[in-house]
Amino acid sequence: MTILIKHGRLIDPKNDRDERVDILIRGDAIEKIDKNLSGAAADRVIDAEGLVVAPGLIDVHVHLREPGFEWKETIRTGTMAAAKGGFTSVVCMANTDPVNDNKSVTEYIMEKARAEGVVRVFPCGAVTKGLKGEDLSEMGEMRAAGAVAISDDGKSVRNAQLFLKAMEYARLFDLAVICHCEDDALGRGVVHEGLASLVSGLDPVPCLAEEIIVQRDIALAAYVGSPVHITHISTEGSIAIIRGEKRRYDKVTADTCPHYFTLTDEATLTYDTATKVNPPLRAASDVAALKEGLRDGTIDIIATDHAPHDATSKDVEFNLASSGISGLETALALCLGLVEEGILDLKGLIRKMTVNPARLLDLPFGEAAPGKPADLIVFSDRAEWTIDRGAFLSKGKNTPFHGRKVRGKNLLTIVGGRIVYSDPDFR
């Protein structure tokens, strides 16, 4: 099957390309990219006039909830949401039930993804068995089964000695180590320690809870000589630490999520559980520091930490509500806000969601060049729309952005030469 995408503005950061071209896809790969291919015969022609074409986005932090929590999300619905959001590859975290700490669960996920998923799924295995923080998981076997990284995301590995060993062991298999940095005692609260917690009476989480573990995990990694990736950073202090450490040790990378640079802790004052997330939404000064960190490259990657939840687990008192935001379908629009504000240009933004994630995980994706896999998206950076959680393909409707007017929408997603998502209003 051949697909011709014509007249689109192709932004391919890997090859430093930003120009109006036509793209011809044959089978599962990109065959040709040229100024004018309108003569070429194709089974499907897509007119991308006025639109942007980019490599499919890669999300390094997603919760697909399967196996074990299928009422919140399945690999099928999660990947459909990813496709709608413009993501052609996702890394799914290990806090499933059973925990993905061995090859059987990894194989299960890979098989489900093959059979029912619509985008590429790369499992992230647990660091410790059962996420208990006591014994190392079978990383080698998980790697062989398809895992690309390890993380005890949801929490930190409390035992520093054990985490040290985990990082050493992971090097054998070239597994990326993704760190959720949170001191569990300091992090026991539910909102940011600041004016919002002062006024709302909700238990606070000081920035310190994140920062001391960021410092620790980088120190451990440097000691071992292992690459380390800090995920969902939220504080000014974390940025400063990472910025400083990167000067000394070049194997540190970091990501943040759209909600951390779009909302502040003020959003939690209404006790709306859609704003409950871990780490919590922070103060305006942290948001400003995150934007600066995105601008100067301290933050390499933007991920979603897509955390779908059923209504029942959110429709309770704030203290009891599950943490998390269903973010795959709103990410692109919120990220384009950074371009609008002048924090990043389009190429820089796309780089943080394609090239950099691919490099972290050593994946052969995130690039739009002849011979490369045809993972592409076509999006409008201008289309205005209102976020409607009722229209989400994800089972998780938990978003604080419902009703928000945004600009920028993904219209078409192609994975391996197959169209997996097409906006109903797009030809």
Partner: protein
């Protein structure tokens, strides 16, 4: 002026004028409690449900008496013996209650935001009788009523609030309410019980009791929240009492006409000595009486009809 709020979830969202209007209204209702026939037909036929997820005698009884003195029907639900024990969620409890068409639900809950949840899903008026460490608006209002009664005005006063401020909804509500007037507030507690950034609310902060009480018109003591995780913030009640228990010597440092307040129930010998609690400056029992009047006023103002 007229009352436009459907609920009373906190004092922070009230204006100074609204607070004064409420206190003026409470003044008339207090007279009812002081005469032989302690009843008026004003809320006849209205149903008031008190839904208490945390134990309380004084606040619950205060609301019940307030409702009954207005001729409303008062129904009490304390969750130790209710469907909540069987695992019913707050949302379901609320919806079930709404089917019985109450006019007002008074809720006390251990978690901040619970009354706000009910307010979002129910049509009837919701009164917050205390939600975790967030607010206890009727307490602050009756405290203000008491202060105004004893001092004639709230403006120009120096007030000390002493105790576990970090976990106290009474402290928060009082700070919010008093800051709408021209007051100087000093908060005092061991550092572990003072939330970071407290000064940003416009209050002075100290961890020394003798400094806090100096030259004050009003001293408000808070109870040690033994049930709200109090023990990891102080090594022992005994040590706390040795440093922060208000005694006559401290009262002597305040102004000559100081009034001593406490929301109750008191831990005698812990935050306040017997001599002070029962002494001539204590207005603690007035607070209790005023509580009924203030709650009558709130029930009255929230129960209005449509026109």
């Amino acid at each position: 002026m007229s009352w436009t709020h459907k609920d009373l979830l906190g004092v922070r969202e009230l204006s100074r004028e609204e607070i004064l209007f409420l206190l003026d209204t409470a003044d008339s209702f207090r007279d009812i409690s002081r005469r032989d026939i302690k009843k008026v037909p004003t809320l006849r036929g209205k149903t008031v449900i008190t839904l208490f997820y945390e134990p309380s005698t004084r606040t619950r009884v205060s609301f019940e008496i307030a409702a009954k003195r207005l001729s409303a029907d008062a129904v009490n639900i304390s969750t130790a013996s209710s469907s909540v024990v069987k695992g019913e969620s707050l949302v379901d409890t609320g919806r079930n209650l709404q089917s019985m068409r109450p006019d007002v639900i008074v809720i006390r809950h251990s978690m901040p935001g619970a009354p706000h949840m009910l307010s979002r899903i129910l049509d009837c008026s919701i009164i917050n009788a205390g939600d975790g460490a967030h607010e206890h608006p009727t307490q602050a209002l009756l405290d203000l009523f008491t202060i105004r009664e004893k001092k004639e005005t709230v403006d120009g006063l120096k007030i000390a609030i002493i105790g576990d401020i970090a976990h106290s909804r009474v402290a928060r509500s009082n700070i919010f309410a008093l800051k709408k007037f021209d007051t100087e507030i000093t908060c005092c507690a061991p550092l572990t019980m003072l939330p970071p950034g407290l000064a940003s609310l416009g209050v002075k902060v100290t961890d020394r009791l003798d400094e806090a009480v100096a030259d004050k018109d009003v001293i408000m003591m808070l109870r040690i929240q033994k049930e709200r995780g109090g023990t990891s913030y102080i090594p022992s009640i005994r040590e706390y009492a040795s440093l922060y228990c208000l005694n006559e010597e401290h009262v002597g440092r305040a102004r000559k006409d100081v009034i001593i307040m406490h929301p109750g129930p008191m831990n005698r010998g812990v935050e306040i000595s017997d001599a002070v609690a029962d002494g001539p400056y204590s207005v603690i029992l007035d607070q209790v009486e005023n509580g009924v009047a203030v709650r009558m006023a709130i029930l009255y103002l929230l129960s209005g009809g449509e026109s």
